[in-house]
Each structure stands twice: as structure tokens, then as C-alpha cells.
Symmetry: D2
Subunit: 365 residues, 4 copies
């Protein structure tokens, strides 16, 4: 009897042991890229929640190289809140292999977006020679109906569908090799409130003059990736990030995003730089950076700057005999100490925060 019990017990142990040690049929490896979303930490700016968007990207349904669902998955992983897939209407190099219409990529991505709690703005790219160049349309109802030869009529159709429009990469050298001009057609679109923004940064370049136009015309600034490849193959996601449009929104919803664009409450974020209206940029900086003064008798004061966000701020001392060294990088989620000689005029230029062409944000400690 006892012997039986022993045998049973032994059996259990042998079994457990074998189970643990000898599953020789199928062993799981540690080589997988785990599936998680990395938060991009940016505190609220006043009453506004800061959403992260990318409003320009392609799939195999125009000249991109990925299936539409990939655009949702990579955006979710990278911490984006809202994207728009903007396949070209006019440029379809893969068409020979496809059965599609201009709404296909949106339709294929929709459910994937829902499951990831990611906002998907229905969009398309109206792709013409300059002028008017390339125009993205958002919040459209039907991209097929925008496939109209005369650009003005295509733009009117966007309006009819209650869509928004932005001018993509105005400084793109393929279309403006030596200059960067704004044409009558753009001025007209602005005047008639049909153009709601411009890309001040696209892919791997940015256009200071376009920032100035946006400031002057109270248009929303955009930084978009214009991705054709998987994003990880175009941008250095380890040390940098894809270009993003920061939206100061009242709510995490398609409507909230739309209002932010219409009210020009956006900031472009590209290559760890920021560009936008002075007022917004200042508010954003102040929400992110906390300054504390450490005083001690007979010692130079020390300013302790703590950056709560995932943004980077580069401070340059305007008054070189005030402090040393003359420039500081305040990295994401770090603290730096600035030792000052005299605290009368502790003014710094944020060399990576652009508020106009050749103009940078200034801050006082």
C-alpha cells in the first residue's frame, strides 16, 4: 500500500520534472519583440491634454510598402494617439497588382485602430505639381469623389465633405529646388479658410519659412512622418523619434483633434526640436520644466531644472559672462544644475524651440 503511494508520488514528481525539463517538442524563445506601447510623457498644458499625431503616411495602396494595419500597430507602439493614412489619389505605382479604390486603406485599418484605442482620421493626399503641390485632406467622407482633375474642384469637394486641408512639405526640393514660395492658390485657400495648416517638418527635413507663414496666418503647424517604409526603417526610433504633431485638445476624440487643428493649437515636434506659436510653446515649456533655486550663504546660487516630459530642451546662455558652460541640454526625465554668477539676468534662449523664422523662445530662470 505504502509502496503504491510511493509509486504514485514518484510518478507525479517524475512527471513534473519531465514536464519542466524535457518538453523537447516546442520550446519558447526569448527573441520576440514584445508588444507594448511606450508612453510619450507630456504634461497637460493648461486646460489642454496634449495628443500626439502623425497626419501623413502611405501604404501599399499608393506608394508605401506596408499593409494598412501596420500603420496602426507601429503608431500604437510609438505612443501616438491619432494618425491619418493619406495614400495618394494620383500616384499609384503598385496599381498593376491591386484591386482597390481610394478608401481601401482606411477601411482596412479601421478595426485595428478601434482595438488599439487609436484615433484614425480618414484622409488622402491630393498630389499635384507645384502650384499647388501636395495637399492632405482630412475628415473626408469619400476619397473616391475627390479624384477630380482640376485641383480647385478637388479642394471644393473636400470642403463639401466638411474636410480639412494642409499643405505638405512646401519646401520640398523636388518641387521648390531653389526657393520656397507661397503661391496665389495657397493664399486664396487660406483666405477662404480652406487651408488649415502646413507641414513645417516632413520626414527628415524642416522649413523655417513655413513656420513663419503659419504664425503670420494663424494656421496649424504640422510635423508628419510621410512614411513609406515601416517607420522603424526610416527613423532612428532609439535615439530620436518620428516627426509628430502635438495637439492641444479638450478631449481624446476625433472631434477634439479637429478643434485643435481648426484653432491652430498645434506644435510641431521633429528631431527633438519644437516649432509653433510663442504662446503655446512657452506654456508647453512651463508645463514640462520645473525650476528650483538652491541658495547658500556666500555661494553662487544653483538653479535646478527638472524636465518631467519626454521632450528635450536646449538652453543657450545669452550672456556668456553669466554662466559656464554656455549651453545645456535638458534631456527627457532628467535634472540639470546651472551655476550662475549673478542672478540679475538669467535669460536663456531655447535653441531647439522655434517661434518663427530665425526666432527662438526665450526663458528666464
Amino acid at each position: 500500500m505504502k509502496r503504491l503511494k510511493l509509486s504514485i508520488l514518484l510518478g507525479i514528481y517524475v512527471f513534473s520534472f519531465l514536464k519542466a525539463q524535457e518538453n523537447v517538442n516546442n520550446i519558447q524563445l526569448n527573441n520576440a519583440q514584445p508588444a507594448y506601447r511606450t508612453t510619450i510623457q507630456i504634461p497637460d498644458v493648461g486646460e489642454f491634454k496634449v495628443l500626439k499625431g502623425d497626419f501623413h503616411m502611405h501604404t501599399i495602396f499608393s506608394d508605401g510598402n506596408v499593409w494598412p494595419t501596420v500603420r496602426v500597430q507601429e503608431a500604437w507602439r510609438e505612443g501616438l494617439d491619432v494618425i491619418s493614412i493619406t495614400d495618394h489619389i494620383e500616384y499609384l505605382p503598385h496599381q498593376e497588382y491591386l484591386k482597390m479604390d481610394h478608401n481601401t486603406s482606411y477601411n482596412l485599418a479601421k478595426e485595428e485602430a478601434r482595438k488599439h484605442n487609436l484615433l484614425l482620421v480618414k484622409g488622402t493626399e491630393i498630389t499635384r505639381n507645384m502650384p499647388p503641390g501636395h495637399i492632405n485632406a482630412f475628415y473626408i467622407a469619400d476619397a473616391n469623389r475627390i479624384d477630380i482633375k482640376k485641383p480647385e474642384l478637388a479642394f471644393d469637394m473636400v470642403k463639401e465633405q466638411n474636410g480639412l486641408m494642409i499643405w505638405n512639405h512646401p519646401g520640398w526640393k523636388a518641387q521648390q529646388p531653389d526657393t520656397c514660395l507661397i503661391y496665389d492658390i495657397h493664399k486664396k485657400l487660406i483666405q477662404e479658410r480652406q487651408l488649415h495648416g502646413m507641414e513645417v517638418a516632413n520626414h527628415t527635413e524642416w522649413y523655417p519659412i513655413v513656420l513663419q507663414w503659419c504664425i503670420d496666418n494663424k494656421l496649424a503647424v504640422f510635423a508628419n512622418s510621410d512614411s513609406h517604409q515601416p517607420v522603424a526603417y526610416s527613423f532612428d526610433l532609439k535615439n530620436n523619434h518620428r516627426p509628430m504633431t502635438l495637439l492641444l485638445t479638450r478631449e481624446h476624440s476625433l472631434e477634439g483633434v479637429r478643434q485643435a487643428i481648426e484653432s491652430a493649437r498645434t506644435i510641431a515636434w521633429f528631431d527633438k526640436q519644437l516649432a509653433g506659436p510663442e504662446k503655446l510653446l512657452k506654456q508647453l515649456y512651463e508645463a514640462c520644466v520645473k525650476v528650483k533655486r538652491i541658495d547658500h550663504a556666500n555661494k553662487k546660487p544653483i538653479f535646478e531644472l527638472t524636465n518631467k516630459s519626454d521632450l528635450t530642451f536646449c538652453l543657450v546662455d545669452n550672456n556668456s559672462d553669466q554662466a559656464e558652460p554656455v549651453s545645456y541640454i535638458l534631456r527627457p526625465r532628467t535634472t540639470i544644475h546651472i551655476h550662475v554668477k549673478d542672478d540679475q539676468k538669467v535669460v536663456y534662449t531655447l535653441s531647439n524651440c522655434h517661434i518663427g523664422m530665425g526666432k527662438n523662445l526665450s526663458i528666464k530662470l
Copy 2:
């Protein structure tokens, strides 16, 4: 006159200055993922050059999510020498959106491979229930002619086209949930020399029992990624690598690769582990690791192990009172020191080098 010269000089300086400081139209950013190929360093093994291959991957032309050219570009970047795109013949979930035949993905990738000096083996996946499960065919002439209902006839067609075949993921739980059996059809294919290899590792799992079958039947072992997503989204490329098949070849050519497979001169590399025939694995280890003994009077000898390769070797001391600590990781391009008490029996098991089911390579210092 002098004034004129001054003005001209000034003009030049002003111009240079403005050129440098004020190109406000288009500024290049530093956010790009640069385009380069990372070498995977593995020294020659005897007379053989070690090529790195991946013989299982998908594109949008079956159930993958990327355009065929992406498979070439990512393989080139990751240091591979040879790939095969193996879209399913029978499983085509995107078909509703495609105009294609079974050769389309190969045809679209061919020129990209040539430009990258990457070997592209024409392949396809014959996708059936178990038995026979999924079979990859390589070196085929026309995938369309392999689209035959009866698997045996499909396999015969591969043979007729002078193709090679391997059995994919024999231990896949979807097809063999509780066991991992070899069926009569596989035995017959082996006997008739129609099956040239098996995947001992696929995607994020490996099958020790399949390694044993390959050893017993002198078949080529394979480790393949079976990628559907962009590879960087499936595998941790920073700390790990996609599964690869190392091929001991006489030349960098499609023919050289074919001979290595037919001669079973392959080693599977997955999750920093290696699996293959004892003789090959030993030669590979000896080509990669150099041992130097540091002796000093009245001191314990120190063994200095230097790994010249990008492979990893995990050494476990079999005789725990011989050395401390009992296990060592010899990382890529590093040197470690092992202090031994007594140099009589300095034998180590390479816990990440598998030469059969439950069998590991042993080495002596």
C-alpha cells in the same frame, strides 16, 4: 578701387555667412535611420565560408504585411546573405485586394536583391494540414505549377522543377498540440531524397526533437524567421536577432547555398543558440574562440577565452569544484577570464550549443 575690393570681399563674407546661417527653406534633420548593413562576423570554418540565410518569410502576396522589396532591404541591413520569400500557395487572405500569381513576390524582389548583392532563392510554401503540414520548396522554376491539390503531386512537381524541400515548424502547436510526430509521408520523402531539411527553429520557438531527426537522417537543419510583419516588429533586433540558417558554403552563390543544403552543412542559429551536427558545431566553435593560458609560478592558471565572432557561447562547468562561478557567457567580440583550480579536467558544456535532443556540445580548454 580698394573700396570696391572691400565691398566685394564683404559681399562674399556676408554671402557665406548667410548661406551657412540662414538657409531657412529646407534644413536636413538628424532623425533618419541611416542605411547600412551590419556585418555578422563569423570566421570561415575550415574551407567553408559561413553565409547567413533565412528561408521562410511572407509578403502581402500571401498573409504577410510588407511589399516584397522590404524583405530584401531588411535582410541586407541585418547582415543576411541569402533569403527566400515563401508566400503560401493555398492561404491568401489578402487576395480580394490583389491581382497576382504565385510568382509575383519573387518577381518584385529580384532586382532589389541584385542591387543589394543579396542571393534570392525562388521559393514557395506548400501549406497543408498535418500530415504533411507546411513544406517550403526552394530553387523552383514556377510556383504556379506547384498549385496542385494532392500534396504528393505538388511535391513531385517540385522535384520535376529540380527544387529542394524542407518541413516547416514540425513542432508547431497548431498542428501538433500535444505531440511532435514524424509521419509516414515525411519518412517517404526522406527516403526518396525529396526532403532536404527541417526547421529546428521557427519564429519564436524551437524543437529539440526535430534536431534529433535531422541528425539521424543527415538532413539540413534550418532556423527561419517565418516573418509576416516587418522583421524589426517581430524580433528584438537590439538584444537578439531573427532566426537564421548558417550555411557552410564553398562560394557566395545560389549554387554554393544549394550544395550546403544538399550536403546538410547547415547550423541553426536562434535566440543566440546554435543547433546542428556535433562535428560542424565543434568546428564552428573552434573557428570562433581562441584560448590562451596565462601561467604564473605558484598561481592558479587563468584561461583567457576570446570570441572573435558575433555568436554567443555559454560555458557551464561540469565539475563544480573545479572553478567558480560555474557558468560563463562569452559574448560577441569579448574576452573572459576563467580561473581554474586544477587543469586536469577543464571540460565545459556549451549549454547553448545543441547537437541532438538533450545533448550539448562539450569542449576542453
Copy 3:
């Protein structure tokens, strides 16, 4: 006149140009490790601010290898708020080269701590064979007066100085090779409220049984680095972190830290694991992780878990037929999605959150 102006202007340009282009005497490089502090983000737990401490480390003034100021600098960089330098009283292998007393390392680090706004607790290590083993004393007035042969008298002197004491690495194999026992002397110290805590983790090991003793005796748990080398040479600071003691404090001050220790409001953090009283650990988890349920008609609910902190949480499903895969890693500042079949019993064990020997925290979604 105009000519003069031109010349001056020219001079300025030439000067600027030369300054920028031709400083061939001394060019600054980009190889420096910049000086910044990385924030360890942990939200407040109820009314308490969570400070990060390390209460065990050495300098050249006992058997360590760095000057005392280095201990402050590295702690500041790594995001610590409070440290104690605890050089051995009895073990001084470098003594032959030093002119020192037992307060020297504290005195040399004091000003560096002030400048970095880092709290420096005056401490020492009373270093004896087992029992009582090694005891750290904190908040002492004079380490020299603790240099007393009989351990009981040394402990009394700590008490006389109003110091606190903890038992270091009770499970250290050099002192308890086969067992881990608590001795009468420790019981007596606990009873007389002279012992305020124990190290449940030290350097590269941890002691579950010691966690249980702390829980049972309401003592503060500690995780300390016991650093002898520069911290970056002992611990993998890129993928891991030095052991730290999390203190739930009412204020960022030496007094705040003392009260947290005396009230046993501490949590040990080591190797991305947490150990401490169930109540505190639960509060900490709830402060860090936000759960949101995504419901859709006829679809399985998705739970979205967002980790706001720099801590890691490993969830294991207790009911394997409830969800797949069965375990999840919630990394710092990330979000994961858990798809559940049935939301009746969504209970998870936090496999890296220890609340006793062999006991882990459980949470419900």
C-alpha cells in the same frame, strides 16, 4: 566715413568667420558623458512622497575603491535622494596608505551632497563574525566612538548616539553558507527596538526568508547596493539598476527618511523586483498602474494597463483558460493590452512583487 564702416563691418565678419572656422588650437569633442540626473519616476503613494535610498556603500576609507565624493555624484546621476556611506569600522585593508579616522569619508562627502541637494545620512558598518554578522548604524554622531570590541557595547553606543541599526545581508553565504538563521542577539535587538530593519536584498542577491522576518517583526525592509567599485562597474545600469530602498516619506529631509525607517514604511527594489509589506506594495502598485476597460458589443473585453512609473510589474494569469498568453511584463512608462475571455475572475499574481517568503501580491483588474 562709409568706407570706415565697411571696414569695421568686414572686420567683424572676418573675425566671426575665423572664430567659427579656424579655431585650430582647441576643439571641443562630443565624447563626454554629460552631467545630468535621471529621474526615477514613482508617483506619490497616498500622502507619502517616495524617496529612493541606498544605505550601504564603501569608499577607499574601508575596502571600497572610490573617493567619497564619487558616491554622491553617482547617486545623484542615478536618481537617488538619500545615501549613507558605511565604511567598515573593523575592516580597513587600505589602512597602510591612509591617514584617517572613522568619520573621514562622511566629512569628505558632506559638501558634495549639499551641492547636489542629496540627503547624506551619517553611517558606518559594524563588521563582525556571525552572530551578529554585519550591522549598519545610521544617524550616528561619531563613528570613532562606536569602535568598541564587544558588539553589544558598540550597539549600545549607537543607541546612545540616537542612531538606527539594520542587519546587513543576513543570507550572505560567507557567513551562513547552508542555512539562514536568526540568532538570539538579533531577537534581543529587535525586542529592545535597537534593530530597525534588515537587508532583504544586498548587491546581487536577495533573501526571501529575511523578507518574512521583517514582515513578522514589523521591521523596515532594505535593498542596498553594498558598492565597493564605482556603481556603474558593478551593476548593469542600462538594463537594470542598483538595489534601492524606497522610502514612503512625509518630507524630503533626513528627518523624513528617519521616520519612514522607524515606521517600516519602506519597500525594497532590486533587479526590477519589489519586496515589502502587502499593504504598502498594493498601494504602490495602484499608484503606478492605471487600468481602463475597452468594451465593444460582441467582442471580448480588452483591459488597457498603463504604467506611469519607472518600476516594472510582471503579471501572471492564475487561471490559464482565462487569457492568453499567461504572463505579461508591464515595463516602465508603457501600456499593454490584455484580452480576456470572461471578466468574472480577472486575478493576476504579480510575480515580481514579494510580500513574504513564497508569497506574491495579487491584483484584480
Copy 4:
């Protein structure tokens, strides 16, 4: 009998099981920084083996912050072959706490170097105002005897001991704030063959003018770290490296290193840049980079450049209408493709390879 065997077997299983599952006294963590040496791969240059040296660093025995053995350990880890600890003779800020002489740091590091198979050159820093500034002496017999007030006499003593000397950081702003001059005393030392080299790079700066002096006078160039802190706290070891002196030696020995210095067969490596005599630099480049031309009918030729080394080469196109983009970074162990329009004049400047003040190495593909 059988029952006994069963019991014994059972006992073994229970024991193994408990051993694996329930060692609650002491659990090893994964937080350690493992101890290994990272190879810096540089192929032989002609008949010469390239050793990596750092000939300028401090310990607590002058104004450094680490114990001498740390200098050996960190150098071994970082892949160095030879170092010299060069504590100041005249500047001893920690002296109040030390019992030492000028040979102490060497004596304390010697055995650690032997165990690591690292060459340790006995050295010291003769530390004077400018002129002559700071002079490192190597291969000395006794640093104490060099502690002589008059610099000329100290230098003669180095000569008497058969030592070598280099001029440290000639462009250091603390000693030459506005200019970088060579003084009579240096000229005399060169003439009398008492000065064998100069630092063209020190810590985080480099001096193009000093490179020119070395070229003109056939002196060995040096790049040294001048470390005071742990090296990992001063230099960005993840993305960059400490300054090193590459030595083209006939053997891995102190004598081999000495001959390389005396023959000026050295190259300075700092911030991924290289500086040295044109001939050596060209040989080094050619040993590291292999070029292969991929030709195809009616296509632009592609040049495939493969860098076998851990050095970086930056190529800039001199003829902007020849190729696009105009500059390329050839990273360690990578391959890049350069597409050229016309293969007549494929000449590139290596912008990070300096062969004189304002002069860079040119190469042809």
C-alpha cells in the same frame, strides 16, 4: 529491494525539486554588470599589430578619485592593451589623508595588470606652469627621484632613468587661453630627443596645431583620457569611447610599445576621429575598409564599402555632381553602398581623418 530503489529515486527527485524551487535563503539576481573585455577590432597594419593605449590617468594618489586597481580593470573591460598611471608629482590635493610616495599607485596596480594580461607602463606627470606645462614621463625607474624643483633637472632625471617624455594637452585653455604656442624649452627637448610625443587630444578636446607640430617634428601623436573620475563617468562609453593612442607594434610587450613611440608609429583616436601621419593613416584605412565594385550593364556602378574594424570613417564627396548624398558615415562593422554617376574621379575626403592642421586624408575608390 525494488522499493528501496524507488524510495531513493523519489528522494533524489524531491531533493532536486526542492533545491530548484525553494532556495529561499539566497537567490542570485540578474542585476550585475558582467565582467568581460570588449575587443576593439582593428586589423594588423602591414607587419604591425595595432595596440590600444591610454598614457594619462590619475588615481586618488594625486587628484583622481579611484584606487589604482580600478584603472586596470576599466582599461581591460574597454579593450585597451597598455596604460600608464601618471599621478602628478607636484599636485597632491588628497595628501592630507594619505601615506604614500610617488611610486605607490604603480606598485598597487602592478599585480592587477599582470592578472589581466595588460601592459602597465610606469609613469608620472611632471606638473608645471607654462612653459613647460605638463609633461608625462614613461618607462621610468623611480618617480620619487624625479621630484626635483627645476624642470630641466627633472627632465634630465627622466633621461637618466632611460624614460620617455610627452607634452600633455599643449592647447589647454588654463595654460594657453588665447594662443597655442610652442616654447623654446619644448624645441630644445625635441632637438635633444628628450621629447618623444605630444597629446593631440586630451580628455574632451583636441588640438589641430599640435598634430602639425608632431608631423613636422616626427613625434608620436597621443590621444589620452587624462581620467580623474571612473572612466565610465567621464566618457560616453555607449556611443563613443575614451581617447586612445593606437600603437603600431611588432609585439604585445612593453618593449614593443616603447619602440612604436620612439618610431612615431602612433595614431590618435578620439571622438571617433583619427589623427596622425598621412602614410600610417592611409595604411590603417586600407587595412580596415574593403571596396568592391558592383557593375551591371547600363546601370550606374555601385561601390560596396565594408569596414571590418571598430573605427568609423566619414567620407565626403569632393565633387558634388558625382554622387548623392555628398557624405557617408561608414560605421564599425558595417557595409555601405555608394552609387556613382561616373567613375572617373571617385575621390573622397575622410573628414574624420586628420593628417595635419586643416588637412584630411583623401582616398580614391
